[in-house]
Symmetry: C2
Subunit: 137 residues, 2 copies
Amino acid sequence: MEAAEARRRIADSRVARLATVGDDGRPHIVPIVFALDGDKLYFAVDAKPKRTANLKRLKNIAANASVSVLVDHYEKDWTRLWWVRADGTARIVTDDTETHRAIELLTRRYPRYREARPPGPVVAIHIHRLSGWSAEP
Amino acid sequence: MEAAEARRRIADSRVARLATVGDDGRPHIVPIVFALDGDKLYFAVDAKPKRTANLKRLKNIAANASVSVLVDHYEKDWTRLWWVRADGTARIVTDDTETHRAIELLTRRYPRYREARPPGPVVAIHIHRLSGWSAEP
């Protein structure tokens, strides 16, 4: 799949899955909502009840910045399957201006974030590689 | 989420995402179709055109058996979101009887596999931990 098409499909998707790696070498995977900004992908820790603010995904990113993000489409008709993966490096955003901008992008995309702005922190993923597969030629 | 409920939600899902870790410590993520058998989850390398039979997911599993599998539900109404994660250990199945049984389970679940049985190899994931989250109380 061409990079431009892969990018378009990520931009059109409302949910992705984030894989990180713990300092024990084990993978961890969670769904995320996100916003694209150039070659960066942002997500925020939101206000859903979480056991702890020290989330596993953040702990993993602090220990190992390599992440992989997947969007995919599934249906019974397997000729219509596709997926796009963005591999990159994550960092927890500490700059207030960048945090504000990322949360603006997220609230534009997700109406629910307008009602309850995510407190953060925000994570920025710098996409180094986009790859994709589609069953349709 | 209770383990029984988490298990039911995985069993009712048709697609999951598999995260593995490469020998370079980077995560890798792909969608999979799968079948459950007790505390094992099976998937097969299928006949879709792949660049190489030596797939990254298999190479990663050979180097690091720790895997994480996610099923999730997304919709605009965020009060209906949920996800379930199965963390475990993967192995490439080498026993013919187990391969046959796994492919039987997969073909029962996916009509497309009846038309084109996956050649394999089959991977077995032994689930060590099931966890889940639901926005609905």
